[in-house]
Subunit: 311 residues, 4 copies
């Protein structure tokens, strides 16, 4: 192959009062390393979110809700930028906790965790969550599960919908209102799952692990085009990508924000090029990974793209 030098690197300039997209444009002129990747990701995401014919998948992994990123996801749902959400159980658990009025608090990672335990404070890096929250959470979950008729068999998305309909704010509430599915293949691996287990000691509701798969795969089969915005990796990234494997198609847009690295072999850090070898992402797809902390790259990316789209 012949290697072309592209456009010259421009030295980025920043000034007081510039907008987020103006900043991201400066990063694009500089265009190197992850700043360049972020700019490319913004271009891909702008096109993807503006494309009516594209079914928009969103993968949510990592402790994003305790880290205050849930609001951005909630707003994306409310504004019609997400058609299918796949999340970890933990993010949904913390979403419920916030929706029922409990809060996460700013703390510090420099602390004595044994003392924190005695003080009944649970830590997520530098975020503190008092155990008290789980008492209100249990009350809410047991009451919510109690409204499911005994003897029923439901899917995980149906259960997420059932929960969301009983909340006024947050991701699950927004998804229920917007009538978009929330898939959580490992729901049992979360506090919601533990609450369900507790509930099921005295009730009989069966959760069909595969109850959502037809609808998820149909979304891939029927999509004229498909795009994915992936925050972190884990189950959400793989579940979104593998669903496309059953179709002759692949994702035509893919943006991944991850703090992992490819050289460890794990999926969470795997490049989107690797996904092309599997056919999960098409060869001609607009695909870009941005390495870094998603609590920085997600707000930066979404604010820039919203400015470009104008809403």
């Amino acid at each position: 192959m012949e290697h072309e030098c592209g456009t010259p690197v421009e030295q980025a300039r920043v000034r007081a009062g510039m907008t987020v997209n103006e900043l991201v444009s400066e990063m694009g002129k500089a265009g190197a390393y992850n700043a360049g990747s972020l700019f490319k990701a913004a271009a891909i995401l702008e096109e993807m979110l503006s494309d009516e014919s594209t079914v928009k998948f969103f993968g949510l992994a990592g402790a994003m809700v305790p880290g205050g990123m849930g609001g951005i996801v909630e707003d994306l749902i409310r504004d019609g930028y997400i058609d299918v959400l796949v999340s970890t159980g933990a993010n949904l658990t913390h979403d419920v906790i916030e929706a029922i009025g409990c809060r996460h608090y700013h703390g510090s990672e420099m602390c004595d965790d044994v003392e924190l335990f005695e003080e009944e404070i649970n830590r997520i890096y530098d975020v503190y969550l008092p155990s008290q929250a789980f008492i209100s959470f249990e009350e809410f979950m047991q009451e919510t599960f109690g409204e499911i008729e005994d003897g029923t068999t439901i899917s995980i998305a149906a259960m997420c919908r059932h929960i969301g309909e009983r909340l006024d704010s947050g991701i699950l509430a927004a998804a229920a209102e917007a009538n978009i599915p929330v898939y959580c293949p490992a729901l049992q691996d979360s506090m919601i799952g533990l609450q369900y287990w507790l509930f099921n000691q005295t009730h009989k509701v069966t959760v069909d692990a595969f109850g959502d798969m037809n609808r998820m795969l149909d979304a891939c089969f029927t999509a004229e085009r498909a795009g994915a915005l992936l925050v972190g990796g884990g189950v959400p990234k793989n579940y979104i990508f593998q669903s496309m494997l059953m179709t002759p198609k692949g994702f035509e847009y893919a943006v991944q924000l991850t703090g992992d690295r490819p050289d460890l072999g794990g999926l969470s850090g795997a490049t989107l090029d690797e996904a092309k070898s599997w056919g999960k992402v098409t060869g001609k797809a607009g695909a870009q990974t941005v390495y870094g902390d998603a609590t920085i790259t997600l707000p930066l990316l979404i604010a820039a793209v919203r400015e470009r789209i104008g809403r």
Copy 2:
């Protein structure tokens, strides 16, 4: 608190022909950074694996089987060092692929993934897996699922057991022979899951997402002591730790090998101290994280501990 200087750092010495544990002991004399952590982890794991009264949990995340680490896990099971295995669906999928005689191959991450796709080679960093393997895999899985009576409701561990009983080698086969449970909360998030979906288009077998939870929690409730060896994070790490939350106990031994970092907030990189604030790990537990690529730290750790234990 008063800070004590511990023993002096000894300059590590290495010589031709030294055994793995001799090397790890030298790392312990040096005792700094992740080499020091590995030495501490070996001491904890030696005690944990030697302790008859300890129920031993093993969490398996990351692309460990394609990376050739499955044999170490298989041997740990066969030698009685694992009582409960929690895995990602991907590791089980690749375990089946190897067990039915298909192979993963050495490749390179410096490649053209679009060409790989055309050549029907799927890439996992620098490991290549020809698509051909998935044809044999489909045959085996469909035949295996076909032996489950229609109308049944089974749990994920029961399905893993059913698969393992039909294999001669690998993790699932060893677990079935050793009669230890293999939990995989997100089984649908894997090729095994996709094969099951395919099977279920024409059959009716219900997989109860929560069908394993009683047995998993019982293992925690009834354990005199509990220890966990966690390779990677993800669902396996959280599922093992959360199960202890429902008991008044916590893990008394915990060793984590991860390539993630704590400052991103995600569970996979979270310290074991953080787990103490939740009560997942006890305040007095022997707990150590080693940061690095588990394909290096796992063999190093297990070879050293086996040398110490003598088998």
Copy 3:
């Protein structure tokens, strides 16, 4: 110690057209992980840059100029926000290359480096630099060195000043105009160093390795207050910090943007708390590290702080 829960985590909200500091404020409300760190760093840097009585040190490591971050440093110098600059030789080399009209170009890290070599293109991750640039660079450097009188003994900062006075744009030019010193302890470890070696084959100019140390230490001794903004680690970080060791003082402001991690033991990833044990940073200092790619965090931080300061 008693652990206090701080203010609640607010879910960050982003909207079209928001300014960079509005975005950083949202990150501050969320306040977790590195987004929270960036917000804290902005508060420290705002105070540091607004404090007339503070001598402002800037450490520049990593391939920042090829990555298009040199302009931000140049502007900080021109606007009086840097009193002492410590840089790697590589950043100064690439600054000269741009200042004499040669350019770096956008390329790709997915390439054949052996072919690139044959095409005389040098790669810095995804930035390409044609070898042609080094021919113009050699001409300029040899001419510039030629203007130093034979038999002289000069310091590294004096040589950097000498070079900067012959340039119209970039970091060295701005520093010369602003009359601030540029220290580069490892100048010989750069293309500038190699050019000097070539020059010295036929001339006799002695570069006194320690010729700048008095002035550097005086800056620390005489500073009423001292603050440091560190991009990357390496020699610049250590040289800035160690200079304070010879005084009874320590840095009262310190912000570090790094992609390294503490657990490897190296200085580049070391926390600023570690620096407190040495007395390099005072116990009461405002000190914050932000982990991530500086091509994202530096523009974000500087744009936000400039908006706060109003220029």
Copy 4:
């Protein structure tokens, strides 16, 4: 290009009492991710260290001596496996501290650094160094510098040699005995440098920053073949590589152990392929990077290679 599947991935097996090279061979059979890289690195290093016609360069960056890795470097020098050593000033400082009988101690990174400061303990991640050591260090350094005749101009390697000749153990002592040069381009950026500055307040010895460059470049010009083992990146890596740029040759063997990553653009994490585009490493060179903590990968690699070579 046509993609070939290489040999099959073998599942690694570990057993009690195996030697380090037997373990590394198992990693090679698995052959994936960084375990595979380590195996490839061992093959390259075995060939390089066995090749009489190869000049062997060693780059030493990162806090390796405080981390107990200095002994491995000292032994490599004593056994004739290093011809040219390039180090950071910090490693040489800590080498002197140990050689004069002061010690580093095992501590913990979970500590109060402000208290450590009051207790006069300096921290390097989880290693503690009492300030007392710097008093003995100052005595030794001042006495050693005092033996240099006033008015002299010396090079950095000459100063390192001068120091090494006055020590009985450690890297500098071994290098002096073996009569191999130790280059330290940024010597002033270290405690040795600060001590020299103190000395020079009352004496006049000039350190010629470029005094070593002829000899360093000659080593490259005259080498029939050249190989480099790089621990960490920083100045040592670049100084070793750039010296080859002035010759028509390139390194034919290169092994790099680093904890950095390529996507941040910095040299320390840059791949060795990137070095090929510059011609620092030849297109046909045996070149391998292993990502991870060098306190684990260095002992593992050297023990395995020594076992292969037999000494």
